[in-house]
């Protein structure tokens, strides 16, 4: 459980970085949003972190922040670096890393669609999945899917005989 | 009839006007009259009526020729420098004259209505059309080699004049044509001089004596000069490059006329000189050294290549008119091939194909012109779905393409069948396979034509189109109707070709109304078409009686992978309609044919530029006149000086 030396050197070049070893092949890195592109660039250029596994977005309502997690993997070091940044929920903007990692194109489009985060310089932020969706970005914590469903859809009302029997005895599924 | 016989009886003594004189006089009067009166709106109708009258005169002449008269002479003859120039109309010339005047009749009718009013200088077009008819009649009734040559030149110039009417690219194409035509004329002229040199005469009989008197090398030279010279006009394979742009850029009605008959003048001259006068046996005995081939089979192969290659070039065209003219070049190959087979079946088939081709090609061109008139373009990528807007034009085009592709029940099938059959009976399987391949290519190409114009998605800008006016629809429908009737009863057309065939000589083809009966397989179109129509009727019964009523839906109510379609989505598959085929034959097309074309094209362009440069310096007609006069003087003097 120790960070590879090369990686350690590189990571500590970045200002204000917090490094944590999650398990033997995953390093969690916390840093400020404006240093993230530089980190990804350096990791890719020096240590072969060329595979962007995913960009995850978490909506933190309490702190009014979006957490963006960039998971990058090096085929050389066989280690994953998860870079966590926090951006403000209002207006929810960040810059695209498409120029560094092409897969970011899809993930940023997805996050834009599901959370409403705008990525500056992303090649395509058109709707992909929710093209017929008129509501707010559904993955926001403020959007209550259950409420929406109750409002929009009807249910089949059925009461089979066995249920009636139980209900007559005072039981039931309620 | 009796009048005719009496005329013939008096012909020796009294210098009465014969039918041919009437015909030529009317044509000349019409041409000059239209130059004067052409601006009037009645000019087109006048011309149409006059062409109708000329058709009647030709019909009478046809009856006379059918009854055994060898030819109809003209009273007109000139003595130039000791040479007698005479004109006479025999069966072969009559056949082509009938097609000429008939095509002119429909073209002029078509141009008299709304289409003509939209044209800038329709009066001039009418006049030039009449001039063309006159020139062609002179050519077709030529009585000796010199009048043949004069007619040849006149036809070339008249066609040139009408081709330039389109303006812009049409002028360039016409210049290109002129270069070819003049080169061809020079070849013909040289050949005639060769005959003159050997025999000292310029009559048709002199040609026959010349051939028997000449050495083999000389005969070869004569053959090549004639074949090349006349081949230029009918766009035989190496000399075909001028035709497609020149004909397709000509304004609609005139273009239909030119397409239907103009190139056939070359075929007429070829038949006259090579088949009638020289004889196919002579050609067949003219062996090419070190091969199994003779001059005849070489020419047949040229004809076969002319069938195949232009057809597949037509397949690649994206413009309706270009596509059709390229097919026109290819169809010429069938006619020549049929005539060259030499059997009665082949000759009749070739001649009938000339007739059939004139009917459906004119109909096709008129239909395409109607589309241009309404939709403003003949670009196959910019049309589509017009069937709901222009149904009668669609019907014409459909009948036309069935004829062009040579499928029953149209007449194109009958003549092609006769040509195939004659090739098979004549032991020429390879040529037959080439003919079949060309037909298959034609089917592909004409389907692309009709699909891209009339089927598929209707474009938004064409939503409000209307059908072409009656003055345009009627002539083309009648032409298509002729195509169907002579397909149903090919005996009608064969009666006409009989007259021409008798003039050529050789065996006659026994036929009946429905077709021909041969020992090795016969064709009776009465049965074929009758059963086909009956069976389609049975199909209609099955369609209407079985199953529920039909319900017509909108074009957007269509399968699109589960998606919705709307007017701003262009989903009409039109460009590169045969992509798979293009991948296979495309490299040949691009590699060899295009490069060869480019080479010749550059040469022609350079020559054209020179020609233009000469002409720009001074008054153009003067130079033309000078050339013609010098040529005639040269002709005459050569006879005298040595």
């Amino acid at each position: 459980m120790s960070i590879p030396a090369k990686l350690n050197d590189v990571l500590h070049e970045m200002p204000g970085i917090k490094v944590r070893m999650m398990n033997e092949r995953r390093v969690r890195v916390d840093l400020s949003p404006d240093t993230l592109p530089a980190l990804l660039e350096i990791l890719k250029g020096r240590l072969g972190y060329c595979h962007l596994s995913a960009i995850s977005c978490v909506d933190w309502v309490q702190t009014d922040q979006f957490e963006l997690v960039y998971h990058v993997w090096s085929h050389m070091l066989k280690t994953m670096v998860s870079a966590h940044i926090f951006i403000s929920r209002q207006p929810g903007q960040f810059i695209s890393v498409y120029d560094i990692h092409a897969p970011a194109g899809f993930f940023e489009r997805d996050i834009h669609e599901m959370f409403g985060v705008h990525f500056e310089g992303a090649p395509n932020l058109n709707k992909f999945i929710l093209t017929s969706w008129g509501g707010p970005p559904p993955m926001l914590k403020s959007f209550n899917t259950r409420e929406y469903v109750e409002k929009t859809f009807d249910w089949v009302q059925y009461s089979p005989d066995w249920l009636k029997d139980i209900e007559a005895k005072g039981g039931g599924i309620d | 009839m009796s009048l005719l016989l009496r005329r013939r009886f008096f012909w020796e003594e009294i210098d009465l006007m014969s039918l041919l004189d009437i015909l030529l006089l009317v044509a000349a009067l019409l041409a000059s009259g239209l130059f004067v009166l052409g601006r009037g709106s009645f000019a087109g109708w006048l011309a149409t009526v006059v062409y109708g009258l000329m058709l009647a005169v030709l019909a009478i002449a046809g009856l006379a020729l059918d009854s055994g008269v060898a030819f109809i002479p003209s009273a007109m003859s000139f003595e130039i420098l000791g040479r007698n120039l005479g004109w006479r109309l025999d069966g072969l010339g009559w056949f082509f004259a009938l097609l000429t005047v008939g095509a002119a009749f429909f073209a002029s009718w078509y141009g008299s209505g709304e289409w003509g009013r939209k044209q800038k200088r329709m009066g001039l077009q009418h006049a030039l059309l009449a001039l063309n008819v006159l020139a062609m009649l002179l050519l077709l009734s030529s009585g000796d080699l010199l009048s043949l040559f004069i007619g040849w030149e006149l036809v070339s110039w008249a066609a040139f004049a009408i081709m330039t009417q389109g303006g812009g690219p049409a002028v360039a194409a016409a210049y290109r044509y002129m270069i070819y035509a003049l080169a061809g004329a020079m070849a013909v002229f040289a050949a005639i001089m060769l005959v003159q040199n050997v025999t000292g005469g310029l009559g048709f009989a002199d040609l026959q004596t010349a051939i028997s008197a000449m050495s083999t090398a000389q005969v070869w030279v004569l053959f090549i000069l004639f074949a090349a010279g006349f081949g230029v006009k009918m766009a035989l394979m190496p000399f075909h490059l001028w035709q497609a742009p020149a004909y397709s850029e000509t304004p609609g009605a005139s273009s239909a006329f030119l397409n239907a008959v103009s190139a056939r003048m070359g075929l007429f001259a070829l038949i006259l000189v090579l088949v009638k006068l020289t004889g196919l046996e002579a050609l067949g005995s003219l062996a090419i050294p070190f091969t199994f081939m003779s001059a005849k089979s070489a020419l047949m192969w040229v004809a076969a290549i002319t069938m195949v290659v232009p057809t597949f070039i037509a397949l690649m065209q994206t413009d309706a008119r270009m596509l059709l003219t390229w097919h026109g070049i290819g169809q010429g190959g069938y006619m020549l091939l049929g005539v060259l087979v030499g059997t009665s079946l082949g000759t009749a088939g070739g001649l009938m194909h000339v007739f059939n081709y004139a009917t459906y090609q004119a109909a096709l061109f008129l239909a395409v012109t109607a589309v241009i008139h309404r939709a403003g373009t003949s670009d196959l990528d910019e049309l589509g779905g017009l069937i709901t807007r222009m149904p009668w034009t669609y019907v014409t085009l459909l009948m036309g393409i069935i004829g062009l592709a040579g499928l029953p029940p149209m007449n194109g099938f009958v003549s092609k069948w006769m040509i195939y059959k004659s090739l098979l009976d004549g032991g020429q399987p390879l040529l037959l396979i080439m003919a079949f391949a060309a037909t298959l290519g034609t089917i592909l190409s004409v389907y692309k034509l009709i699909h891209n114009i009339f089927l598929g998605q209707l474009r938004r800008e064409h939503q409000h189109l209307k059908e072409a006016p009656v003055s345009m629809v009627l002539p083309m429908l009648i032409l298509a109707g002729i195509g169907f009737v002579t397909g149903f009863m090919p005996g009608l057309a064969l009666n006409i070709t009989d007259i021409a065939q008798r003039a050529i000589g050789g065996d006659m083809l026994p036929h009946h109304l429905g077709g021909v009966t041969l020992a090795t397989g016969s064709l009776n179109m009465l049965w074929v078409v009758g059963v086909l129509i009956g069976a389609i009727g049975a199909g209609a019964l099955i369609f209407y009686l079985l199953g529920n009523r039909r319900y017509e839906v909108h074009q957007f109510d269509n399968y699109a992978g589960g998606h919705f379609l709307s007017a701003d989505i262009r989903y009409h598959f039109s460009h590169e309609f045969y992509p798979g085929l293009a991948r296979v034959i495309g490299p040949w097309y691009r590699g060899s044919i295009v490069r060869a074309e480019q080479g010749i094209g550059i040469l022609v362009n350079v020559a054209g530029d020179l020609w233009q440069a000469v002409f720009r310096v001074a008054y153009t007609p003067l130079y033309m006149l000078l050339v013609v006069v010098l040529g005639l003087v040269f002709t005459g003097s050569w006879g005298i000086v040595p």
């Binding site: 017929s132 559904p138 009807d154 249910w155 | 910019e382 109510d557």
Partner: protein
């Protein structure tokens, strides 16, 4: 949970309307014969609307071999008889399903496949999926379960055949007869601008399936879009310039 659920009125009973000519013996015999053949030749639309489609290949292929009872897959809705809704329907898919359903030729049958089509199933609280299929198109039969086994698929097909043979599977008539209700439900979900290229009302008129429920206040909205076919092009689409080509 159920106290919050709105109560939906029962569907009107689906029954076949009797044509005038159907009383003659000949028509009856022919109809009987047609139903017999319909039941034995069923083409299933090749549209994998949801995850249930994974059990269709086993049903079709060598092990269960649907073709031996005359069921085979077909590609376009024009040729298909059965629309298999294989599981959950997202709203985006439902639009395509309705489009495909309307393009199918009557008589046409809908089979809801899996619990999701009945009441939302696994995804009952998902904002993206439709809960009840039969609100939007008439379903003839449902298969419960997630996911139904090939045997269940076969069972439902056999049951459908039985129904067709007996002339009972007439959901398609219900769509014509109560088009307004179905359209209303569709509009509630997709918005009032919803329409499909198929003119269901005209079709119902043409074939005499017009009933009181065919037209109503929901179908009135469609009339506003009757001219969609010609020129209803959105504003952002630039007009194509006049044809610049030279007129010959």
């Amino acid at each position: 949970m159920s106290d919050k659920l709105p109560v939906i009125e029962d569907q009107p009973e689906i029954c076949r309307s009797v044509d005038a000519g159907e009383r003659s013996v000949w028509t009856r015999v022919m109809n009987r014969f047609a139903d017999h053949c319909r039941a034995r030749s069923l083409f299933v639309l090749h549209y994998c609307t949801g995850c249930g489609a994974i059990e269709l290949p086993p049903t079709i292929t060598s092990r269960f071999d649907m073709e031996r009872v005359g069921v085979s897959p077909m590609v376009t809705p024009r040729q298909a008889d059965i629309l298999l809704i294989t599981g959950y329907l997202s709203i985006k898919t439902l639009k395509r399903v309705i489009l495909s359903y309307e393009q199918m030729q009557s008589p046409k049958y809908v089979i809801g496949f899996g619990s999701c089509t009945i009441n939302g199933g696994m995804y009952w609280n998902s904002y993206a999926t439709v809960k009840r299929l039969d609100q939007y198109i008439p379903a003839d039969l449902f298969i419960a379960g997630c996911m139904p086994r090939p045997e269940a698929v076969q069972q439902v097909l056999l049951k459908l055949m039985e129904d067709i043979d007996a002339g009972k599977a007439n959901g398609w008539q219900d769509y014509y007869n109560n088009y307004d209700r179905y359209l209303g439900n569709q509009q509630a979900l997709f918005g009032e601008s919803w329409h499909t290229p198929t003119d269901v009302i005209a079709e119902a008129k043409h074939y005499g399936y017009l009933a009181d429920g065919t037209m109503g206040r929901h179908t009135d909205l469609l009339l506003k879009r009757a001219d969609y076919a010609l020129d209803r092009v959105p504003e952002d689409y630039p007009e194509r310039g006049k044809n610049e080509r030279r007129l010959p």
